[in-house]
Symmetry: C2
Subunit: 212 residues, 2 copies
């Protein structure tokens, strides 16, 4: 299948469609863009365009076969191609992510973790082993790993990011609350929990201030 250019905002909506479609096991066989837009409180034109981009199974007045549409979206998102990833920083949040099995559903397989802390090296979390940082490059090259997950403290994140890029990593999932500088061709997706908490916490303090 030819790779089409697609915006990040479309990519962000597709998993939302997918989870809704998967939840409709007791629903009708076919679903229209209109019905999907209504259920998810999204614009109908937008949903129609998004679906047309990932599937050619839409029929006028009938819509999409639900099961086929799920397949098309999953194939488009590459969920059927499992991505092996290495995780750097096996303590705290990293350890929690290593133990989380739900990523498999989205085609992510954390194959191993790496850490500079000798107290963590050699341990196993969620069935995955923590190796020393010195093993990272060989491991990535042997296993052709292209995705790295950063769960180290913010002050080490750029250094770890540079190492990952040297190891051939092309996509980085960054959980450290730090801005990462990367060359063209490398994608960083930030998952900044500290930021989310700041937004929530500030909202609460404003709301509590309003109540008082």
């Amino acid at each position: 299948m030819q790779q089409k250019e697609i915006s990040k905002s479309v990519l962000k909506r597709l998993p939302v469609y997918l989870s809704y479609l998967k939840s409709q096991t007791d629903g009708p066989v076919n679903i229209s863009a209109t019905a999907l837009a209504t259920a998810l409180n999204l614009g109908e034109v937008q949903v129609r365009k998004d679906l047309a981009m990932v599937s050619d199974g839409g029929r006028p007045k009938i819509g999409y076969n639900r099961i086929n549409l799920i397949d098309d979206i999953e194939q488009f998102l590459g969920y059927d191609n499992t991505n092996d990833a290495v995780l750097i920083g096996g303590g705290g949040l990293g350890g929690a992510l290593m133990g989380y099995t739900g990523f498999a559903e989205y085609g992510l397989n954390i194959v191993a973790a790496f850490d500079s802390n000798p107290e963590l090296v050699g341990k196993t979390k969620g069935g995955k082993k923590i190796y020393p940082m010195s093993d990272l490059e060989q491991f990535c090259k042997d296993r052709k790993i292209l995705m790295g997950i950063i769960t180290v403290p913010a002050e080490c994140a750029q250094e770890v990011c540079n190492i990952l890029i040297e190891c051939g990593i092309l996509a980085i999932w960054n959980f450290a609350p730090a801005h990462l500088d990367v060359p063209a061709g490398i994608l960083v997706q930030n998952e900044n929990m500290a930021t989310s908490l700041a937004v929530l916490s500030k909202h609460l303090s404003v709301q509590i201030g309003n109540i008082k």
Copy 2:
């Protein structure tokens, strides 16, 4: 302190400043907006404005005292006021978050989890107990809980969201890959891991396609 109107984008940068400032324990006593902007690869004017909004400790040609600036940002973000939160959905990712102790640093305290699955109810994860959903309303009202964390499957997320709002919750941290409808005054912060993985996975499939 008077609550100022502040944009989400400023709130997203403040934790980045904070983590950098905290990492500079061996650095100079004072730090300027220019130095901070350079270190974090951000615009100088933006950093200057952000800092002026949260602290009045900046002095011309000297900058901010690092320790005082950390205090000012933390106070502004409400990290010194701990927010108690309930978590709904104690399996999988929810269980992982319950066991993660790093949230305390950002003023978040997950006090209890709730789940509709009788196999999870009564269990303890990360020192926190999982209660039945029927206990949620009384618990939130007794403890004056204002923040809820949603880690249930996408198809249950809106229902759980509605229940949380009935219980008096004002801020929702949503890990379910679903759009949530909420009334005015309620803030939803989405942490959509499926979306992040879709973006990363798509980037890889395009990059691999380019290489082949």
